[in-house]
């Protein structure tokens, strides 16, 4: 039988969508009737076109219609949403606040992480610039070295067609710069080839980028240096004195180096200056003199692989010696995290930070969802009613999602405000310099928007989807059950427990880190670091050492005077070339070495176990004498002692004295063997022990003595214990970071708990009213309300303790000298958390428990 003709399927659907509901059925039918009539008369194609023509004409009108009603509904939802917020001002505020804080924290940390990832990006040629590095092996360890042979750069340029240019840079040893009456010691001077300015993007404000470094006797200053020495005058063309002997002409001024650069310097001097000076002194540069860092610029980034291969054995071939190390290249993009350029551990640090940011955001979002869903229980009646008067599920879903999104975006707004306000403090506490502009440059904004969207939707999805499926009748009848006792209560419980596990773990970690840092700083170093002042003697001022020492020794207010070649807090030089009697094999352990004057042990108050130290009375044996520590004796074989022979650092002599082990390296390393030799002239540090009384006048004495003896070098002094604090600055910083996070995590979790508790208390007002009437006392009721939460916290503790123990134990392995992980640490954290949680909960519980039963039962 013939097919019954039907309407165009798609077109009629579109039509249905466009016509308003009141007449839809009839109208579509009318269209259908006409369609068939035309089709019968003029054929299918004409009819089809007619149908679509009608549709097209309908569109503008129905479009406006839908928009109009859409707006009307949205206005209603908005009004209801605002009314809701008004009615439950505090919950809404808590909700938004918690989320905002979490977001703000996450944003701040993201700023940090992104900043780190963007180090060096301002260099235009970043894609084609690479650094040459090598690996060297010592004591079974691999060392990442970025020092390269001086000859490498020019040689590479000649032999490698893939390389467009090379440049070298080397940090100039600390130097005195003088202009007229302004004289300072500067640390951050780089010696660079002229190609440096072409390879890296450090534009000159004044001076010619192409020629500024041509003359070896030139210097380029950053604006901050220009300010320091020239205070407003134009420095171009003026002459600065280097170390009181070399004249340098200022040929350029450049912007201060941006904070996100791994190359940090205050001034540039041509490398030629150093090269020429060394050559004049008779030095011949060969393939084993490794000082400068070498950078190369490739014609194209594609050739990086090839160059990496070629450079591998290059130095060995050039040197003709197999002891030369193997080289490879590292991209400028990776410098910040590369172990070759000081980036060890940084990847871990940044990852940990990113993880923490995520955690905090997670806690905040979970909070938001928890609170939203708890609050929406209230609205069950409203939903029932709306359904009764004809709201479709779609409408309800839209309404609740919309409300939730409203809250979420308000939180985002608040978070942005918080970020702007808190950024300076953040920068200060963490020693960073993060600009807000990072947010504009990257994909942060869309991601943030997306997260807010997700959180808002997640928060609103529960009431929207679940509640809207309830039968109106049952919701209108009402129910009052605790937030935890429903079916979904389990989910909520789990979330609360999760939040507190994180918080407790953070608290424990913070406590551990703080204690460890404290332990390190106050640990017994084996010598007395208080009241020791040292005067660093640089370059020419070393000549004045003996004169200064004599002057100071004569002053009764100065207790002890001595000197050394190293900073008293840290002996870094070491070597393994040593010989002693009955040595089984050539020594392979690094022995630390320093040169000290008489009375060193006495001044530093190191404990002397055997023998004596260098002194005026032993002046004959001083120059062949060694002061060693216990570790050294152990290394030499326990049977050695005072009088044993030792050949080290070109001195073949005897041990004069044995010192008890003391810490001369940072405390996270085991104490290495140490051998001190004697020296009494041209030492780099004059060390004085001053009396504890009236420290300022002791300093004054030092100053006057200095100025009367040393003419052309500025007076500088350092306290030994403040040196220490600088060492452990990193640990202190980490401690600060953890502290902030722990506080934040607990705050947000507590906020969530507060919201839940108040909601529960409110829900159970009737129940509480009845209990009170039946004779329950206020404390009983409070106990009742708090019971659930207490259980959650205890579970959280049980989970958090082992996790924290495991992680902290691993971290403490980094330290050779570490504190013990006592059980009371965990107990304190647990109790603290419990206390805070109970405090939070009890505020609401008390309110609920002390309510007048009459009020709560009135409307039964």
């Amino acid at each position: 039988m013939a097919n019954k003709p039907t309407d165009p399927w798609f077109a009629s659907r579109v039509l249905s969508g466009l016509i308003r509901e009141s007449i839809r059925h009839g109208a579509v039918g009318d269209f259908s009737e006409q369609y068939h009539w035309i089709r019968h008369k003029n054929g299918r194609l004409v009819a089809w076109m007619w149908y679509w023509f009608q549709i097209v004409q309908l569109i503008p009108e129905s479009f406006y219609h839908q928009i109009h009603w859409g707006i009307v509904m949205v206005r209603n939802y908005f009004k209801i949403a605002m009314r809701n917020i008004e009615k439950h001002k505090y919950y809404a505020l808590i909700n938004i606040l918690g989320l905002a804080i979490g977001m703000a924290c996450c944003i701040l940390i993201s700023l940090w992480v992104i900043d780190e990832l963007h180090y060096n990006r301002f260099h235009e040629k970043i894609d084609t610039v690479y650094g040459a590095v090598n690996d060297q092996y010592f004591e079974g360890n691999k060392w990442h070295i970025n020092n390269t042979p001086t000859l490498l750069g020019p040689a590479l340029e000649q032999d490698f067609p893939e390389i467009k240019a090379t440049t070298r840079y080397q940090t100039h040893p600390q130097a005195l710069l003088t202009f007229v009456n302004k004289s300072f010691f500067e640390n951050r001077i780089y010696l660079v080839d002229p190609s440096f300015l072409q390879m890296f993007s450090f534009p000159l404000i004044s001076g010619d980028q192409n020629t500024a470094l041509d003359n070896p006797n030139s210097i380029i200053l950053t604006t901050h240096m220009a300010e320091k020495y020239f205070a407003g005058e134009n420095p171009l063309g003026k002459t600065i004195l280097l170390n009181n002997e070399t004249e340098l002409i200022v040929t350029g001024v450049m912007e201060n180096v941006p904070h996100n650069s791994t190359l940090t310097f205050h001034a540039l001097i041509p490398y030629r200056l150093y090269e020429d000076a060394r050559i004049r002194a008779g030095h011949k540069f060969h393939w084993f003199s490794n000082h400068p860092r070498t950078f190369i610029e490739l014609h194209s980034a594609q050739s990086a692989e090839v160059v990496n291969e070629k450079i591998h054995h290059y130095v060995r071939e050039k040197a003709g010696d197999d002891r030369a190390p193997l080289f490879h290249i590292v991209s400028l993009k990776d410098f910040r995290f590369s172990p070759y350029y000081g980036g060890t551990g940084r990847v871990n640090q940044i990852s940990v930070l990113a993880l923490i940011a995520l955690f905090i955001l997670l806690i905040a979002c979970i909070n938001f969802m928890n609170l939203s869903t708890a609050r929406s229980m209230h609205r069950a009646k409203e939903i029932g009613l709306r359904k009764v008067v004809g709201a479709s599920r779609k409408n309800l879903v839209l309404q609740f999602l919309g409300e939730s999104l409203l809250l979420a975006f308000s939180a985002l707004l608040m978070a942005m405000v918080l970020v702007v306000v808190l950024l300076p403090t953040f920068n200060q506490v963490f020693g960073k310099n993060l600009p807000l502009s990072i947010l504009k440059n990257t994909f942060v904004s869309p991601v943030l928007f997306g997260i807010t969207l997700l959180t808002g939707m997640a928060g609103g999805s529960y009431p929207a989807i679940l509640l809207s499926s309830f039968k109106p009748v049952s919701t209108l009848k009402g129910s009052s059950v605790s937030a935890f006792k429903r079916k979904d209560g389990r989910m909520r419980k789990i979330l609360v427990v999760f939040q507190f596990v994180l918080s407790i773990a953070l608290i424990i970690s913070t406590l551990v880190i703080y204690k460890q840092t404290d332990y390190i700083r106050n640990a017994n170093l084996g010598y007395e670091k208080e009241h020791i002042v040292y005067l660093p003697l640089r370059s020419g001022s070393r000549n004045y050492y003996e004169a200064l020492k004599n002057k100071l020794q004569n002053d009764a207010r100065i207790l002890n005077v001595t000197g050394s070649t190293h900073r008293p807090s840290w002996i870094g030089s070491n070597s393994y070339n040593a010989e002693w009697d009955r040595q089984e094999k050539p020594n392979e352990i690094l022995i630390h070495v320093g040169r000290v004057d008489c009375d060193y042990v006495e001044t530093m108050q190191i404990e002397l176990l055997e023998g004596s130290e260098f002194s005026r009375s032993t002046s004959q044996s001083n120059k062949d004498g060694f002061l060693v520590n216990e570790e050294m004796i152990k290394l030499m074989g326990g049977d050695k002692g005072v009088g044993s022979r030792l050949k080290f650092q070109g001195v073949d002599g005897k041990i004069l004295g044995v010192m008890k082990n003391y810490h001369f390296t940072p405390l996270n390393k085991k104490i290495p063997p140490l051998a001190l030799l004697f020296r009494s002239d041209r030492l780099s540090n004059l060390i004085v022990r001053i009396s504890a009384y009236d420290i300022p006048s002791s300093i004054q004495i030092l100053k006057e003595s200095w100025e009367s003896v040393v003419k052309d070098y500025p007076f500088e002094y350092r306290f030994l214990d403040s040196d220490f604090d600088r060492f452990y600055r990193d640990e202190v910083r980490i401690g600060n970071i953890m502290k902030s996070f722990a506080i934040l995590a607990i705050f947000i979790a507590s906020l969530g708990l507060f919201g839940l508790a108040s909601f529960t208390a409110e829900q159970r007002t009737k129940e509480i009213g009845i209990r009170k009437i039946l004779g329950a006392s206020v404390p009983t009721v409070i106990g009742l309300l708090s019971k659930e939460f207490t259980k959650c916290i205890i579970i959280a503790n049980v989970i958090a303790w082992p996790v924290a123990y495991f992680v902290m134990n691993r971290w403490l392995q980094n330290y050779a000298y570490r504190m013990k992980l006592g059980i009371w640490l965990f107990v304190i954290s647990g109790v603290l958390t419990l206390f805070i949680a109970l405090l939070t909960v009890s505020v609401q519980s008390i309110k609920g428990a002390t309510a007048n039963p009459v009020d709560s039962l009135r409307y039964e």
Partner: protein, 106 residues
């Protein structure tokens, strides 16, 4: 007192005229034939819907038919308010057009 708009008036009048036969297609054809206007469906149905929502018309379900894809016909009828509105507009119309000087173009 709100007077009907022109198109509303035309449609209501047509519905009244067509009595039991007043459904979409018929209304459209009648108006187009009588007035020479070439109203599209859209300009019929939108006012029809509005009038229904305003309570001046109500709808009656008719028989389904195969040409309509199995859908029922939807007939329109004046409500009391609708009838009253027509009466009002007629009164206003007569009042205005009474004693009008001639409109012949000359």
């Amino acid at each position: 007192m709100r007077i009907l708009s022109r198109s509303e008036e035309i449609i209501l009048a047509t519905v009244w005229k067509l009595q039991d036969e007043a459904y979409g297609v018929a209304i459209n054809q009648y108006i187009n034939n009588k007035t020479g206007l070439n109203w599209k469906f859209g300009s019929i149905y939108t006012p029809l819907g509005r009038l229904v929502e305003k309570g001046l018309l109500h709808t009656i379900q008719g028989e389904p038919s195969p040409e309509r894809g199995g859908r029922r016909k939807m007939y329109f009828q004046l409500t009391r308010a609708g009838k009253q509105a027509l009466i009002d507009v007629q009164k206003v119309h007569s009042a205005i057009w009474e004693d009008m000087p001639s409109l012949k173009m000359g």
